[in-house]
């Protein structure tokens, strides 16, 4: 008969992970993404809503490019601390849906 730990950990070389901690990290990542979207496409746009240029580019266009790089950074951090570990062998503790 399987023990509860056997049900959770698929790959013995990876330590058992607390799913709540993982969910908290995911939530933090998504919160960061949401905040970035608020700045990039929400009220934050009002900071640059002028027909001027910056380094030759229209302000709003440059704003979009700036937040693209910031969101890429969020994605890299998310991958490093959440996705990569999750995809390398851990099964979700809650199993299937």
């Amino acid at each position: 008969m399987l023990s509860s730990s056997d049900k959770v950990v698929k790959s013995p070389q990876f330590p058992k992970r607390d799913p709540r901690r993982r969910l908290r990290r995911e939530l933090a990542s998504l919160t960061a993404l949401f905040a970035a979207m608020l700045m990039a496409t929400g009220p934050g746009v009002l900071l640059v809503d002028r027909p001027e240029t910056f380094l030759g580019l229209p302000l709003i266009y440059g704003w979009g490019i700036l937040w693209y790089f910031i969101i890429c950074g969020i994605a890299l951090v998310t991958d490093r601390y959440i996705w990569r570990k999750d995809s390398q062998g851990d099964e979700l503790e809650d199993g299937s849906c």
Binding site: S29, M37, A40, T41, G56, I60, Y61, D79, E91, C97
Partner: protein, 538 residues
């Protein structure tokens, strides 16, 4: 037009026709190869045996997401509205995050429990309910059919520019694209779809970057390009854009909800099931975020803005109209390619670049049409035919039902596209721009979000709550689309309510549907739990 240019363009047309014909023939060959590589059975036909590696998964997810929106719709919208649409490109990373956050869990559920369609998973969680299953199928249809229409329309638009002056060019282009797409899906199933998507995605990405580079060079290089763009009207350089459509609430709601609707739609859902593991989805998400967004920001934006420079918009009391040489906003990329590139690069090289862009545009359309038609056939075959009409049907019979569905859906979409192309048609306004049709489609698919979140994370909803929420969300979303007045009648009191609501909170129809969806889902769930009775299977 200069007669010399006309001759060169005619020669260019011959090149384009030859290359396009070869490309379409290649797709049919891939369809046949997919058929040869497939084993009998639904799981192989719909999910390629759940063995798609990361590269094919990535490319097919991107190709399915992109569509003619990328090379026709988006440049057309940038051309019409200005820089504000560049912010819409930031919806792509949201979709990328969804690929792993939602897709990984969907993959696991599908692997563990043998799910093939979204309804399999949703009804597997809430209990088998005919009403819920039919609502999920309806949601899939409401997304897939308009999206297929978009792609067929793009084929028509392409032909109309390529063969300007020829009678019925639009209709012939739409028919050829529709029939070729239907043919290779019917022949080869998911494998053919994925393999053709992989090639088409590479063409698409290359086409987007090539288009941006070519237009920038055509205007004299980055510095000259920037100088010209800075001279555009203020309304092109600020929110809410030239027509006033992209107000902040509308912009934000679209950027947040459009990508989610584009990712949890049936074709993408089945791609999650098809992946060979979470690593494939992780890599797909990262490549999606980094590369696809860059293609929009640095490829598509210059095309639309360059279009405004080369073919200034006409501002009048009625609003804004494209330059007469362009005719239709969505054709700006093709017009720029045809008119500017041969002049800039010479007949031969300019013709080659133009042809590549045309092929990329065709690839964009077909890669999404095939995915949605394929997914639609799965919904009808498994969720309606297999569950309700003939549960004892064997795999071979179901696959054939799927093929018939693909053909029927293609014909319906083709009929609507050709009918709607007539100026006197009541659908002509509804079908005017690709972006409008895309937003219409995602307004429905995004209504699956509350159910998806509940199944994957919360696990608190009930079957009745799910049914009520989804049904309400679909109905409300539809009420806020441009098609509702045609159905309800322009003098209906409901139209007045919708208009007042929209004026009060100017967000997209998807958001309105979602608000009522969530409220209904939560309310009905709470009432049901409070009453502490078990809802019988509906």
């Amino acid at each position: 037009m200069d007669p010399a240019n006309y001759e060169s363009l005619s020669g260019g047309n011959a090149t384009a026709i030859i290359v396009l014909t070869g490309y379409l023939a290649m797709l049919l060959v891939l369809g046949w190869m997919g058929h040869r590589a497939s084993s009998a059975g639904e799981e192989d036909y719909y999910l390629a045996g759940r063995k798609q590696g990361w590269l094919v998964s990535t490319l097919t997810i991107m190709a399915t997401f992109l569509s003619s929106f990328a090379l026709l719709g988006a440049p057309g919208m940038v051309y019409r509205e200005g820089v504000v649409f560049g912010l819409v490109a930031l919806n792509i990373p949201v979709a990328g995050f969804c690929i792993y956050t939602l897709g990984r869990r969907i993959w696991e559920a599908g692997k563990n429990q043998g799910f093939v369609t979204p309804a399999d998973m949703i009804c597997g969680h809430y209990g088998s309910s005919t009403t819920l299953r039919l609502l999920v199928v309806l949601t899939g249809m409401l997304f897939a059919i308009p999206y297929v229409m978009i792609q067929i329309k793009a084929g028509g638009d392409l032909a109309a520019v390529l063969f300007r002056g020829s009678a019925h060019a639009y209709e012939m282009g739409a028919i050829v694209l529709a029939l070729i797409t239907a043919a290779y899906i019917m022949i080869g199933g998911m494998r053919s779809v994925a393999w053709t998507d992989a090639i088409q995605c590479l063409l698409l990405l290359g086409g987007m970057l090539l288009a941006g580079l070519a237009i920038t060079v055509a205007l004299g290089g980055p510095a000259a390009f920037a100088e010209e763009v800075a001279k555009l009207p203020d309304s092109s350089l600020t929110i809410p854009g030239n027509t006033g459509l992209w107000t902040l609430p509308f912009l934000f709601s679209v950027c947040l909800l459009m990508p989610i609707g584009g990712i949890i739609q049936p074709a993408q859902w089945m791609r999650f099931y098809s992946a060979d593991g979470p690593q494939a989805l992780r890599r797909s998400a990262l490549i999606f975020i980094f590369i696809l967004t860059a293609c929009y920001l640095f490829g598509i934006m210059p095309v639309g803005l360059g279009g405004q420079v080369q073919y200034p918009l006409q501002f009048n009391s009625g609003g804004v109209a494209p330059a007469s040489e362009v005719g239709v906003f969505d054709q700006i990329l093709i017009v720029l390619a045809r008119e500017q590139l041969p002049v800039l690069f010479g007949t031969t090289f300019g013709g080659i670049v133009t042809t590549l862009l045309i092929v990329a545009t065709m690839a964009a359309s077909m890669s999404t049409a095939d995915s949605n038609l394929h997914a639609l056939s799965a919904l009808v075959t498994r969720d309606i035919y297999g569950k309700l009409i003939r549960p004892r049907a064997n795999d071979r019979e179901r696959v054939w039902v799927g093929r018939v569905t693909i053909l029927a859906a293609t014909m319906i979409a083709l009929f609507v596209v050709i009918s709607g192309s007539r100026p006197e048609s009541s659908l002509s306004g509804f079908m005017e721009m690709i972006v409008g049709l895309a937003l219409f489609a995602v307004a429905f698919s995004v209504q699956l979000l509350p159910i998806t979140i509940d199944i994957l994370f919360l696990k608190r909803g009930t079957q009745a709550g799910a049914v009520a929420g989804l049904g309400t969300g679909l109905a409300v979303a539809f009420a806020f689309t441009s098609l509702f007045p045609l159905v309800a009648g322009s003098d209906s009191f409901l139209i007045g309510i919708v208009e007042r609501a929209r004026a009060f909170i100017p967000v997209h129809a998807a958001a309105w549907g979602l608000i009522f969806n969530i409220l209904t889902f939560v309310t009905v769930t709470r009432i049901q739990k409070k009453s502490n009775t078990t809802t019988p299977a509906i």
